[in-house]
Symmetry: C2
Subunit: 397 residues, 2 copies
């Protein structure tokens, strides 16, 4: 077995490019009812087989007419037509917004421009043919693409699709994400305080919550002790997963076997990334399944999740911009410093447009993550950011 | 029955203030398992009854020592201690990141600063007491607030809470949102094209999807025809809802009864808002339940949903900033115009940092909503925005 040292320190950008370029979007699909499709991604163009509207409809409340019969109408010289249920040169028909335009009519005069007197209606204005009429197919025609393939379906899209008579949609399957917690120090979560030297395993809870949020389906493994053969066996057990996240055992200590195992059974692309916290992160693949080795410290693991797991899940899912974060501009309230050569993530609390940096003393401290609304990312060639500077805050979802 | 005219045209800001100020956050709570709590809101402060860490732990792989025994250690003059499982003045103990610091030890020397020679260890550096030791309660102490009441729970929060031995969390119940579609023209959704003059009811699909996305629980009514007594009956049937959304029948036509019914049985705060599309929106309450009357045209209804339903659901849920949208800056690619006196929402497609306005010809057109990534909001006193200007795009979720 190779000696356990970081391969090298890879820059965030290089690590991300290498890893994301190795990921191929999934091809498995499901057919779901339209009401189940919010947040899912279309696997093919959705084509309308209906016109919308599917009949010529009134766009206003008023009277349908043949426009040529009231060309001389004005306020001073109104034209009278007889109220009817059929259109002729001397009749008009009452319509409501959405009503079918009766045969022979080509325009609707708004009720405000008319006065009804018994069975007669006075028109105070002329109209052009087509006025206040929504024509067949004006919104969507038979054969039109309603939404393209690889489109993230939103509530408004579902309504449009259903308006075209489509009740089932083919969408990509959610990526299955195996989550493998490792570490001799870990015990299963419980209400009891673990014995000294032991801690509750909570990383898989965090990873699973984000996997669901980003559109994946979490598959939870039991805790695996720091034993290379057991780690190897557990990774191999997840041969059907679409992404594997191994938590812990990524550093260069005596008990940190995860990157070495990955190097043995698959491809270790990167071990040691220029991010702080998160340096021990490793990335690679096993049997063409992308693998993320997450540092065991949860504050470091969180950064790795946002930088690598989020875009990986989104790319597997065919989401167009897998790298996008929700961001907000704010004014930094205290100077923050960073480590040259590392992209540094400083936790901040937001107060309106103010970003207040939170004091941290290491990747092991979770209380400040919980207090934080987001991170300020300081570039690897920047020494720090001054009080009063405008910063982009990456919001912690 | 009063005549059906808009009460007045209320500005967006006034309408929003009036409506949101009338909403009281809900007090019903649920106790859920921690893994079910992502996106839920805490109903009280969550207090730790555990220290984190709950023992003095090694922050590094290395050797635990009593610092005073190696005060003279240096590279040129290392100090030797005997490897043991107990600490004395002449011994050290091997520890791994996360190990319990043995009794009597007060510091950890990193493995990189030592050399093991059989049962002896050479120390090349001195350390201060406390070095590389995570002390009991350093992260969280018994009695500390882990997260405050009214906190939206994220994946990272769940992990921290579970680390403190907490397995159940009291959260606010999701608001129940009744959705009532109205209109003589509506038929239940199906694969068949409805007869001319009829359209499929899809607004409740759209509203329900957004209600779920914003943290509410949708309750669906059947289609109600344009009959004031039936509308009244259906609203009254939803006396246990926390918010009522009535779709359609909000304008001032002969068949638009919804605002009039609300005025009769409850409070009509606003009818007619300076937004385009969305002018016919009405807002009020029935039996202290907030009521939103959504225009029937889906593109207008969408605006009303984002401007009124989203913040209403979020305020009912105790979310701190109910009015926040996801936004992105972009450069406008064509001039857009607007209507003085109305906040105008122009649909745009994003292409990187470019915002491309989409042509629309009315609130009835849904195809351009489906193509749009977001809206540019043009203020009511602004006539338009020029090509090349930087705009904020409100993203359509």
């Amino acid at each position: 077995m190779k000696s356990r040292v970081f391969k090298e320190r890879t820059s965030l950008k290089t690590a991300k490019d290498l890893f994301l370029n190795s990921i191929i979007p999934l091809n498995k699909t499901n057919i779901l009812r339209v009401e189940e499709c919010q947040g899912r991604i279309t696997s093919k163009d959705i084509i309308s087989d209906m016109n919308v509207p599917h009949y010529n409809r009134a766009a206003m409340d008023g009277y349908a007419v043949k426009a040529e019969n009231i060309t001389s109408a004005s306020i001073s010289s109104p034209i009278m037509l007889t109220l009817s249920d059929k259109i002729s040169n001397s009749t008009c028909v009452r319509v409501h917004t959405g009503s079918k335009i009766p045969d022979g009519a080509d325009a609707v005069v708004m009720v405000e421009d008319t006065e009804q007197k018994g069975s007669l209606v006075e028109f105070f204005t002329k109209v052009h043919p087509g006025k206040n009429v929504g024509h067949i197919g004006e919104d969507i025609r038979i054969g039109d693409i309603i939404v393209n393939a690889n489109h993230l379906l939103r509530g408004c899209d579902l309504a449009t699709i259903a308006s075209c008579g489509i009740e089932e949609i083919e969408v990509y399957e959610k990526p299955n994400v195996a989550i493998i917690p490792t570490g001799n120090e870990l015990v299963k979560r419980s209400k009891q305080s673990p014995p000294p030297g032991k801690i509750s395993e909570t990383n898989s809870l965090m990873v699973g919550a984000y996997v669901e949020k980003w559109g994946g389906h979490p598959l939870y493994s039991d805790i695996i002790v720091d034993d290379p053969l057991l780690i190897e066996k557990e990774i191999k057990k997840n041969i059907d997963a679409d992404l594997i996240v191994v938590c812990g055992g990524t550093s260069v200590g005596e008990r940190d076997y995860v990157p070495t195992v990955l190097d043995k059974i698959g491809t270790l692309l990167v071990h040691g990334i220029g991010i702080s916290p998160g340096k021990p992160t490793a990335l690679g693949s096993f049997n063409d399944i992308p693998v993320i080795c997450l540092p065991g410290y949860p504050a470091a693991g969180l950064i790795t999740l946002f930088e690598f797991a989020a875009p990986a899940i989104k790319k597997l899912s065919h989401i167009k911009e897998p790298n996008s974060f929700y961001k907000q501009e704010a004014t930094l309230q205290h100077k923050i410093t960073s480590k040259i050569g590392y992209v540094t993530y400083t936790r901040v609390k937001l107060d309106g447009n103010k970003a207040i940096p939170l004091m941290t003393s290491g990747a092991g401290i979770m209380s400040t993550v919980t207090q934080a609304d987001g991170f300020v990312k300081i570039g690897e060639n920047i020494e720090g950011i001054n009080e009063g500077d405008t910063v982009e805050v990456f919001l912690i979802e």
